[in-house]
């Protein structure tokens, strides 16, 4: 390596590198701009059509009416408590889903026989529309937070068990053989290979689950709640305050986005830590 030419080369490379970074940033910038533009255009179109009477703002609301509704609800502090209840119930369901499905998938991995026996049950429970179970939960658990959390769990848990278990099974069997050749037990194989090797699948399943838990919680709130955004939607539709319904739906969109982004951040953090 001669220093002089190297120096020249690296300066040339640096500009190429800079150009690449610049292009990359510009690309991301463009994507974000377009996303925001679509959103703003949608708001403008919505507001204008309501203002000009193209749509009936009684049925379709309008951004300004949504904002007004928000302010009104915030004055009585009711909106924040509804949001808080839904957030709390969703996060509790989500965490319980993770816990249950991780435990269940671990047991299934340990006992091949059990997984063979239980497979049809899991498949049936996973495809069953969980909203059909909600009336039962109400009879068993009454109306209130436990019912709603159970509804949230029921939507996500079976799919989650199946995804985790499938992930565990996809681990390279030779890597498990390696543990045995080093004198390890089945438990070692699980903690040293299967679990760390399945982290990407655990994360992607978690991303799906938080959304499903929200779906379950809203279903539960439709049927069995006096608080929460689901309740607000049902109540609003019953008293024909569609502003309230649409406001709640928009808040749900924001919550869903927030959950997704938080899991993505956790994922990024874990991937960085394990350099995956």
């Amino acid at each position: 390596m001669t220093v002089k030419t190297k120096k020249n080369d690296s300066r040339h490379e640096l500009t190429k590198q800079e150009e690449f970074v610049k292009n990359h940033r510009r690309h991301h910038h463009q994507i974000s701009t377009m996303r925001i533009t679509i959103f703003v255009l949608f708001l403008i179109l919505w507001e204008t059509s309501a203002y000009l009477g193209w749509i009936d703002s009684f049925f379709f609301a309008s951004p300004s009416r949504v904002l007004l509704c928000c302010v009104e609800q915030l004055k009585t502090n009711a909106l924040l408590s509804h949001i808080g209840v839904t957030l709390f119930e969703t996060i509790v369901s989500f965490l319980l889903v993770l816990l249950f499905s991780l435990l269940a998938a671990t047991l299934l991995w340990y006992s091949h026989r059990m997984s063979e026996v239980l497979e049809p049950y899991l498949v049936v429970l996973n495809s069953l529309p969980k909203s059909a179970l909600a009336p039962l939960f109400i009879v068993w658990l009454g109306t209130g937070t436990p019912t709603i959390i159970v509804a949230g769990i029921s939507v996500a848990v079976f799919g989650s068990i199946i995804s985790f278990y499938t992930g565990f099974q996809q681990v390279d069997p030779e890597k498990i053989t390696l543990i045995y050749t080093l004198g390890g037990s089945k438990r070692n194989a699980f903690t040293k290979v299967v679990l760390p090797g399945s982290i990407p699948i655990l994360l992607s399943t978690a991303k799906v689950n938080i959304g499903l838990a929200l779906v379950g919680v809203i279903i539960g709130e439709f049927l069995a709640a006096r608080r929460g955004l689901g309740y607000l939607i049902i109540y609003g539709s019953q008293v024909f305050q569609l502003d309230m319904v649409i406001t709640s739906i928009i808040i749900l969109c924001i919550i869903a986005l927030g959950f997704y982004k938080s899991i993505q951040m956790i994922e990024h953090h874990i991937r960085k830590k394990f350099k995956m």
């Binding site: 030779e174 390696l178 543990i179 080093l182 004198g183 040293k192 760390p196 090797g197 350099k275």
Partner: protein
């Protein structure tokens, strides 16, 4: 040299609903302390099955393995098994990978870790101990896998085509390199290979297996006048071609 392990009439079959597939039949040979044995045979003849049986991962359906320790004890020799690929875990650093066996066996004693550290220095991996396996070259990965195996201080090393994932040129160097390191560590070794030249250049004795169900067709002691560390030197030994032809003939005659 003392025979530390003796296989007597080993037989093994795979079973499925469609019937029984005999993989091994009547396999007998002894393993001497410090000896390097290469096992060659047609592909799919059950070489890996044989190694799994010696390693204790499978139990033979027929026959026995007799243990003959120098100190008269009946303990099965400690075995190190190197698989076809290195299987270093990407979620662990190189150091965490090489101490995996110690971790599993709860043997993280200071002197064991000292041995591991010495091996890392000796094998030129000291600089890479906090790196991820993907940052190592193919040869360095094999060395790391060897340290992981040697950390448990095995008496007998089993290598199942450990270099087959490497390109030819790297393979020449790495196979000679790894075997030199194993010889230097004073271990006994059984290696499975497809490559007849590799078998002749590395081993003291070559065992030739027949088609499935595999049995020992011939055994050939190798004495090269040029026993040298460089990968090509042993291949240039005058006897090399003769051994090669003999092996080729043994392997291909279907008597």
């Amino acid at each position: 040299m003392q025979t530390i392990l003796e296989l007597k009439n080993i037989g093994y079959s795979y079973h499925s609903l469609h019937g029984e597939t005999r993989a091994l039949t009547n396999i007998s040979f002894g393993v001497q302390e410090g000896e390097f044995i290469a096992i060659v045979g047609p592909s799919g003849c059950g070489k890996s099955t044989l190694l799994s049986i010696i390693a204790g991962l499978l139990s033979p359906e027929q026959g026995t393995i007799v243990v003959n320790n120098p100190d008269g004890s009946l303990a099965y020799p400690r075995i190190g098994y190197m698989l076809q690929r290195d299987h270093l875990f990407e979620w662990r650093t190189v150091y965490k990978n090489v101490i995996l066996g110690l971790e599993i066996n709860h043997m993280m004693t200071p002197d064991r870790l000292e041995t591991v550290n010495r091996l890392l220095v000796d094998y030129g991996l000291e600089k890479f101990r906090e790196k991820r396996p993907s940052e190592l070259s193919g040869g360095m990965k094999q060395r790391a896998a060897l340290i992981r195996t040697l950390a448990l201080d095995p008496q007998l090393l089993l290598l199942d085509e450990p270099f087959s994932a490497l390109d030819y040129q790297t393979r020449l160097f790495v196979s000679a390199d790894i075997c030199r390191l194993i010889r230097a560590a004073g271990k006994t070794m059984i290696i499975i290979t497809h490559d007849l030249s590799e078998a002749i250049s590395l081993a003291d004795r070559v065992i030739i297996l027949s088609n499935r169900p595999a049995t020992v067709k011939a055994q050939m002691p190798i004495r090269l006048t040029l026993k040298d560390d460089s990968p090509l030197a042993s291949r240039n030994a005058p006897e090399f071609q003769q051994y090669f032809n003999q092996l080729w003939e043994d392997l291909n005659n279907d008597s």
